[in-house]
Symmetry: C2
Subunit: 163 residues, 2 copies
């Protein structure tokens, strides 16, 4: 069983507390183009299966996939945007948090089930952190790896999206 994190959200005051992670709602978010999508779940005595059909809900053809695993909870990954590459993130084991930022709005998502994913369009600043010890984060990408597609400086990202 994955370790589940819950953020304590104070009822009164304390404006510095982090916002609650979006653990439930599938659908659009406040971040431009970003959405949370439930996968199809099939559970029976033989175990669980979650499935997604590319054309149905991934708005891009998959050119590459990668799996991030063995990440210490202290490590922060991502911290970049892509110029062209679309991504869809599913935490297939354990849990991690994903931050998506369009330069204007920022939201954080707790991915703690393989049955839900987050779509990040190009020009979205993305951060992943707070990996559980057993976390495996699966990412589908619309493009092959291209170093020039990465924007690694947040100020440069802001200049681009505000242009």
């Amino acid at each position: 069983m994955a370790t589940r994190y819950s953020l304590v959200v104070p009822v009164f005051g304390n404006e510095t507390a982090p916002p609650p992670a979006s653990t439930v709602a599938a659908g659009k978010t406040r971040v431009k183009g970003v959405f949370v999508r439930d996968l199809t779940e099939v559970t029976d005595v033989r175990g669980n299966l979650v499935a997604g059909e590319i054309g149905e809900f991934l708005p891009f053809a998959v050119a590459r996939f990668f799996v991030v695993h063995g990440v210490s909870s202290r490590q922060i990954r991502g911290q970049h945007a892509h110029r062209k590459c679309h991504q869809f993130l599913v935490c297939v084991r354990g849990s991690c948090r994903v931050i998506a930022d369009d330069g204007k709005h920022r939201e954080e998502f707790l991915l703690d089930t393989p049955a839900r994913g987050v779509y990040l369009p190009p020009r979205t600043w993305g951060v992943q952190y707070d990996y559980s010890a057993d976390a495996s984060l699966l990412v589908f990408a619309s493009h092959a790896y291209e170093p020039d597609d990465y924007i690694r400086d947040y100020e440069a990202f802001l200049r681009l999206v505000r242009r």
Copy 2:
């Protein structure tokens, strides 16, 4: 850490002992069209990443993906062939065994790392079993789910491939 299984292969006699699982060799197998493929591994202080590019080594466009998890070690999954659908299997967490059978040759593969996958072309009888408690098996498929694409009877499969 995934539980690792090892089959004891007797040096002398005992023809009923199972064949050793292919835990190491990437490349072609004795089963028609089936191959084992290593993914690209990138390991650094921030954790591990394994990646695959679709065009480079998956000989099909991905239309669907699914993740099988929470399977008891006693359960056997698969036990069918596809008429048209190509599949690529990666155990992204834990371990499981995959049997591939072309009606003439049969091989078993131990998938115990996210850095290696098995490609099963259409008309391959596939079985997955011996899932570790933490196993998550990721499968890429070339087609959307179509019940008519499944051949669930082994004798019918043999008739098809021997036709």
